[in-house]
């Protein structure tokens, strides 16, 4: 489920998801390890390589198949549904951080999307001018003054640090959806949800990550830099606190979102990894 929360990359400039490669070379100097806040670099790089292999052989092929087989409106509905399912956790963290404007946005999104959006399958709130923002316990801990600790690459889950790892675990326990599933002994539901959101996330970053890997001299170092900068930016909440955009004019409904997916899908496919 931690796969749900990944920074994104845009205009082909930035993205993060799972961890990946790097060139095998001697370890860094002590001073350098400090500069990158990565004292466990050798171990991290080894795990990164394993994650890369898993990504290449399992996750990426599955994500590509997912994108080929499932039609865009359905993928969008899955995405919106899982985003809505995660919204209570976002709301709780908005409140814990004293971001009451953001909390109001999230609460509004839950109410609109769960009712009008039929249990969260359609993101009407965005069309009403209340866009999604991410939030998690790692960010909450940071606003409470807790240091990130050393950079970590987790098996399968990828870039992290002790603070964000604790946050991920905490968010997992707090998640109402998972609690309901546990109460009814439906562990498979939680697992299916984590799996689908992981595949969804990966399928949305196929070109971005392939592009960064292709153009990087040291992919590991690039991902590390992107992760740390992106988390710092999320903690600042600048982007999230921009004024809300104007509501979409004209017919409200799933159609604009769907036509968007269809319109952007072909070029993305054409440029696909190598």
């Amino acid at each position: 489920m931690s796969l749900r929360r990944s920074p994104l990359f845009v205009s082909g400039l930035m993205a993060l998801g799972l961890a990946l490669s790097g060139c095998a070379a001697p370890g860094p100097t002590a001073a350098g390890a400090e500069a990158f806040n990565d004292p466990l670099e050798d171990t991290n790089r080894a795990i990164f390589d394993v994650n890369q292999a898993i990504d290449r052989n399992v996750l990426l092929p599955v994500a590509k198949t997912y994108r080929t087989v499932i039609i865009p409106p359905m993928r969008q509905a899955f995405h919106d549904f899982m985003q809505n399912l995660n919204a209570p956790v976002v709301f709780a963290n908005d409140v814990l951080q004293g971001q009451f404007g953001l909390a109001a946005n999230t609460l509004g999104r839950i109410l609109i999307n769960t009712s009008m959006g039929m249990g969260g399958m359609f993101d009407f709130a965005t069309q009403f001018g209340v866009p999604y923002h991410a939030n998690d316990l790692g960010i909450t801990l940071a606003t409470w003054g807790i240091d990130e600790g050393p950079y970590l690459v987790l098996p399968v889950l990828g870039p992290s640090n002790p603070r964000d790892l604790v946050g991920q675990i905490g968010d997992g326990f707090a998640d109402p959806g998972d609690q309901v599933a546990a109460a009814y002994h439906r562990l498979w539901a939680s697992m299916a949800r984590a799996l689908v959101s992981g595949i969804d996330e990966r399928s949305r970053n196929i070109e971005n990550l392939a592009d960064i890997e292709r153009t990087s001299l040291d992919y590991y170092a690039t991902i590390r830099s992107l992760y740390r900068q992106r988390r710092a930016a999320q903690i600042r909440h600048e982007e999230d606190n921009l004024p809300n955009p104007a509501p979409v004019q004209g017919n409200l409904g799933p159609s604009p979102a769907i036509s968007y997916s269809v319109a952007t899908a072909p070029p993305l496919h054409q440029v696909s990894a190598k």
Binding site: F36, A221, R236, E239
Partner: protein, 198 residues
Amino acid sequence: MTRRLQLIGTLILLAGLLRAAPAGAQDAQAFVAALGNQAIQVLGPSVSPAQRVARFRQLFRDDFDVPGIGQFVLGRYWRTASPEEQQEFLRLFQEYIVQAYAGRLGEYGGEPFRVIGSRPSGDETVVSSVIERPNAGRVQVDWYLITRGGAPKITDVYVGGVSMKVTQRDEFSSVIQRNGGRVDALLAQLRQRLAAAR
């Protein structure tokens, strides 16, 4: 399609021009808006890869502070590099960025961005813009500008709070560090990469 892009570009330009802001800041905003307009037109998905590289090279040379960025991304190793290495690095770095980003920008779907304001930051001006993506949320793109020889030049671009300049510096520093602090190791890798791209 092109018509629509032109219209969007014009709107962006107008939006930038209409903002109430101090003269310098207004110039900076107009510059960014015009650059966005230009970029959407010359780098769109319909442009052939070779053409895109050529056009982006031109744009990068004209509108970016290449020497300043180059010096920054080499970090503390700029001082340890010999003058010849510095010169060669600037040449290789420029071409490396052109090759890397021309491809990435080709995937940019051309969603319009709007300039939302500007603020001073030291001797630089920061122009903020936002890209609203219907299904993927919004992204703030901040442009750092400095005036060199009477013309604004871009010194850095932040996408979603991530500095392109810092990312590049972190990567290059890592390469140099893992090769015993030798700048020529980075130069060799850049040369190799560019040769492969041809």
